[in-house]
Symmetry: C2
Subunit: 431 residues, 2 copies
């Protein structure tokens, strides 16, 4: 049992009741037990004392949509038309991905994520045992799911479904509870209706949530209407997907009625501003989703379409683009963007004790070095986090009270090995 106390810290809690605390935070193993501007009295002894001078502490960031292994294709074939990029660069190389590729690509992404302050992420990919092992090793949290494309013969469909079920069973609740799982038909435009229904049934059987891509491009929405007579939201609702707790990624092209349907079914939306801009998919109606009461969080998508995994940038993009596009300087203020990147992300993947700093919450938190020009003057730290900070400002990262990054160095991962192997896998794939 270890009780740790941080002194002289500045804590941006993302807790409306006490948004800014200057002073002390204590945690006992995985749980925050003290948070106050006053020093705790001696009746609560602490084993470890840390000095938080010049550090800003905040909840760890939650990335609610990623395909981590695709970092192996970062910068490979950028600035091509979408279909050329997908058909000539991404799909042929992804088809060649072995377990080894997924392992090193995922580790490269996890290395970048934890050093940049992301403590939890959603991953949807293939060879998921490799992903789960990487998450277990890293010390971060993962909400993981075998994403299945159903454009294949029935026996391959069945094999993918069984793989997804087996993975979900094997890993749900593992790594001291840091890993949870979901069921994921890849998207309405890549999965026949009956294939989606089988995933929904499996999610019922296993009592798991659903994750899928939805309404990322206008083209796919129009094709869905043409093929099924319904836009994607009604189509997925009809297939029963929203009868399970659900997280959908993108949701760029929505009507008012679709927004209302998402709210009625309490569907969570992962907004991916960087990826949506880079792939020219459009600008999601985030201010309208928030106004309707839909739970919105942030995802990077893969670093092949982003091209980094810096969640500070996603918060900043969310705070900037909706102002610029709507003409309303009050759209998605910094306080809201910070919630999208932290507590909303945690709620979106059903982590009730993650995403804010408060007594009783999990000790998932990060520290930023704020003794730098771009954090001055000391005017408004929420503004500074959202409008000025970057992943590179993160110095320390804790998950479940365990430190996994110290002074910018990953403690759980072999950085040199990961960088070497990732480069090697890229060369083997593309040469």
């Amino acid at each position: 049992m270890t009780r740790t106390l941080i002194r002289n810290g500045t804590f941006v809690t993302v807790n409306d009741e006490a948004p800014l605390v200057r002073g002390f935070m204590g945690f006992d193993n995985d749980t925050i037990i003290y948070l106050s501007d006053k020093e705790p009295d001696a009746s609560v002894p602490f084993d470890v004392i840390m000095d938080g001078t010049n550090k800003l502490y905040m909840p760890g960031l939650v990335n609610t949509h990623c395909h981590a292994a695709m970092s192996l294709l970062r910068g490979y074939g950028d600035d091509l038309a979408l279909q050329v990029w997908l058909q000539e660069k991404m799909w042929p190389n992804e088809a060649k991905f072995t377990g080894e590729d997924v392992r090193w690509g995922t580790l490269l992404s996890i290395l970048e994520m934890i050093k940049g302050g992301t403590t939890s992420f959603v991953d949807m990919y293939d060879h998921m045992n490799e992903v789960a092992q990487a998450v277990e090793l890293s010390g971060m949290r993962g909400c993981l799911t075998r994403g299945a494309i159903g454009l294949c013969p029935p026996d391959v469909q069945e094999q993918k479904l069984q793989e997804a079920i087996q993975f979900a069973k094997d890993w749900h609740g593992k790594a001291d509870g840091r890993i949870t799982t979901m069921m994921s038909p890849h998207a309405p435009y890549t999965c026949p209706p009956d294939f989606i229904e089988k995933f929904v049934q499996a999610a019922h059987d296993l009592d798991l949530p659903m994750h899928t891509h939805m309404s990322e491009t206008l083209h796919e929405v129009l094709e869905n209407e043409k093929q099924y007579g319904l836009r994607p939201v009604d189509h997925l609702a009809k297939l029963g997907l929203f009868s399970r707790p659900s997280l959908v990624a993108h949701a760029v092209h929505l009507t008012d009625r679709e927004i209302e349907t998402l709210r009625e079914h309490n569907v969570h939306v992962s907004h991916n501003p960087g990826s949506n801009l880079k792939l020219a998919s459009g600008v999601a109606r985030v201010p309208d989703l928030l106004k309707a009461g839909v739970l919105v969080s942030l995802g990077t998508d893969s670093s092949a379409s982003n091209n980094n995994l810096d969640m500070f940038e996603e918060m900043r993009l969310a705070a900037l683009i909706h102002k610029g596009v709507s003409g309303d300087p009050l759209a998605v203020p910094a306080t809201e963007a910070l919630k999208l990147g932290t507590v909303n992300g945690a709620k979106s993947i059903w982590l009730d004790r993650v995403g804010t700093l408060a007594v009783g919450m999990k000790a998932d938190f990060i520290a930023l070095d704020v003794d730098q020009a771009h954090f001055l003057p000391k005017s408004d730290y929420v503004s500074h986090i959202v409008y000025s900070a970057s992943a590179k400002d993160v110095t320390d990262v804790f998950v479940d009270g365990k430190q996994i990054v110290r002074g910018g160095e990953a403690l759980t991962l072999d950085e040199e090995r990961i960088k070497y192997e990732a480069q090697r896998r890229f060369e083997l794939l593309t040469n």
Copy 2:
């Protein structure tokens, strides 16, 4: 006389004839004399040899619109309606700015800029002697101008004009040529026509270019039409402003005909995507400007409306938002965004020997540490610079062949003093 050779470097030159060089770059005092994948022969002796392993070298970034002193108000009153922010937060505090405030605010910005790889910037503000002294001390380049608002009695107008003229005369070509000057009526909506004409006349007399804000908000464009019967471009053309070499900031709201007029007069446009988004001014027609052949560069605007001075972010925003808003994934590709932030910026402020790496060019260049997860795999360094890098990746900065940042540390400025004084000035201003 010092001849320096960098070995084992990767050079992104922004020179179309040899965009990527892996090997050697030599410079003699302020000028690049060698750039090749082959080692120079012994007939050219070098006094200093530097190792460039794991470093990516590129031209220094050029920020073509800034009000550096306003960093003192970073994060002060964010997320308010534009008029409330201006009238209650910015203007009353700026009115209180003394020379001391401008000195420390400017130094705070210059510290952030040089550490982040910006080697040249445009500054438009008041107390410009302080700004020029800060630039001289820092070792960076500045294209500086006393911005004058003409909404004041004739004697105050005249005083501002004389101040602007005196400053321009005193500092043009100073600091070993690193400082140049311009004439700047603040904006059409803050300057009566005859006041603008006086600045144009002074620019003719002194043979200097012009800099002004133009068409930042739709509101100001409509007001200009109402007041003068002309949109801002025709209005400024009529007042003779474009008879001088001109750089205009923002240019968000333009008609096709205005774009054509800007091209005809060879007016340079400083695109400020971060500031335009944050202040909800809109999205400039950058793809159309580029297609028309207008010289477009990038500016941060002040860190009160950005909120940092990271030019990598401005390149990334320029590359992302125009794709997302236009629906064209080929809009402003990374190669173009990199030019906007480097060679176009240099040309925009009439620096012909800055902005690319090539023999005969000035040794204004920066190094990035690319031995990091977000720069892997080694697929496309232009993509990595634009879509993945940040100011915090910069390790070394050279201007005129003199090193001003080494291993992330500013060599010319007293960082601790600047941070202390900037915070103190903020507290004095706002308490």
